[in-house]
């Protein structure tokens, strides 16, 4: 992936059936359709690459009917869709929670796949959990620091998978992403659209020893220097 991302012109020149596939084969097996963190400003180039590859693969798959090629094209098309929805930007929790492995990109059949278009993103804090009713109540905000714009929402635990339900408890932070789930065929035509939203519990964050030392130094200063 890194080679593809950082050597786009070379890839473009060599994107024939054989050489192109050889390079591209790293894409679906690289564990993630996310742009590498080190790319920085080159992320846009990476996304352009993904969209371009998706387009070219679609043509190749249609021409050759290669099953592996179809699967690869589907995978890349989803990555391109994620680019359009900006799903991954700012959704650290989604990455932390293994979002890619848990949901959106499962193909519905060989000719269609699902993509997600993000609408809004919220940050929430679980206030209480009612396991009998299968719900949890959370304080939700549109901006992480906008504590006064908060509101309270009760969710069904069906929004969570079993591992997340086990971790659910008062004080847990999560990201709520609301949006549309679309089913698209290999040509990119949308065949079905539905409202969809997902909750991603954040991993507990602990301070590093240095951060904790800084925090303690500040706290002690505030305590002593009244």
């Amino acid at each position: 992936m890194n080679q593809a991302a950082t050597d786009f012109p070379a890839l473009e020149r060599t994107l024939g059936r054989e050489q192109g596939l050889g390079v591209l084969h790293g894409l679906p097996s690289s564990d993630s359709a996310l742009p590498p963190e080190h790319l920085g400003e080159e992320r846009d180039a990476w996304f352009l690459l993904v969209e371009d590859v998706s387009s070219r693969l679609g043509m190749l798959a249609g021409h050759f009917g290669d099953r592996g090629l179809v699967a690869l094209q589907r995978r890349v098309a989803i990555a391109a869709g994620q680019r359009r929805s900006m799903l991954w930007f700012g959704t650290r929790a989604a990455r932390q929670c293994g979002y890619l492995a848990s949901g959106w990109r499962k193909p519905t059949n060989r000719r269609t796949s699902e993509e997600f278009v993000r609408e809004r993103e919220y940050v929430g804090r679980v206030r209480d959990v009612d396991r009998e009713k299968g719900t949890f109540t959370a304080i939700l905000g549109r901006q992480p620091d906008d504590s006064e714009g908060e509101f309270v929402v009760t969710f069904s635990q069906r929004l969570l998978d079993s591992k997340q339900i086990d971790r659910l408890g008062p004080g847990v932070i999560f990201t709520l992403v609301t949006g549309y789930r679309r089913t698209v065929d290999v040509s990119g035509r949308v065949v079905k659209t539905a409202l969809d939203s997902r909750v991603f519990l954040h991993e507990p964050r602990t301070l590093t020893p240095a951060q904790r030392e800084d925090a303690r130094r500040l706290a002690d200063r505030l305590f002593d220097n009244e």
Partner: protein, 356 residues
Amino acid sequence: VSTPPAIQRPPEAEQLEITLFGGGLGESVLCHLGDRRWLMVDSFRSPAGQPVADEYLDNFGGDHRIVAVVATHWDDDHTHGMADVLMRHEPDEVWMSIVLNEREVFRFAVEHVKSMEGRAPSGLRDFVDVLRAIEGRRIRRWGMVGRSVETGTDVVVRLLSPSDELVDRGLAALGMHLEPGFGEVTSPPSNRTSIVLWVSRGTACALLGADLEAGDLGWTAVLDRGSPDGAPASVIKVPHHGSSDADEPRIWSEWATPTPVNCVTRYTRLAQPLPREDDINRLTARAGPLHIAGRLPDRLRGESVDFDVHLQVASTEGVRPARGPVGMIRARSNENGAWSVEPYGAVEVAQPSTTC
């Protein structure tokens, strides 16, 4: 707060004023101590984003100044904007519950806020912001029963809680988790660490009940010590939004005039906001009309709520914006200790039920 001309009329130089502000998710009290000196008890922001105390005093123009601040406890509906007020007015005293006077509490607060990267409970963030705002100014005061605010006038402000019995419990009284990580730190147990105030000038007395709840460590401990002045209170800020768990009939039977000015703020974060119908009926039956500051949420007023359609994944009845229009109940005393009461904005006056 809308600004009819009457609001802009400041109190007389020697006039005691008690003004309660409520915004659905916010409670604040201003007391005029005399000579344009004010005490602010708790804080929240108006929909315009300014601390309501500032917004109100700006109506008067001139050099009205908040000289003392009391943070009754650190639930976030009592703390927003407090640090801003401290920076602007540079008060002489800032009071907070003495149960916080532990190095571990400070460490916990700072570590928790840092580890949650801006997503810590907002009351806790406000606590750290306030500590930063007053650092090095030697104005921090630890509140507990028996201590008094330095008013600089003939208005007396006494602290009636937290009680000795509660203070003896130390950190356990806070109900705080002391391991950094996740937890709702500003959880309900902080209510019982609340600072209750008795404000008096001559025979005009007011009881500001904060969010103190009933029980041996709460109102029972306060009331068992006897009335601070021997005189009854004629203004009562009903504790904890009129909830049943803060209800203490002895407040009215032992410490209040027969028909005091009763006022309370709404709390709209709950599915059934406080005070509830039962609470209102109970309080009005006991002590007459009840002034309620803050408006019911739109969902309970039959009005549509502008909201993300995608959140229909959630229970719609659970969706409730936190901040609403501000209601203001202003009580000013005259020379005889009687009060004139002026409601402004989102205020409802509940009357005793006439049905038997």
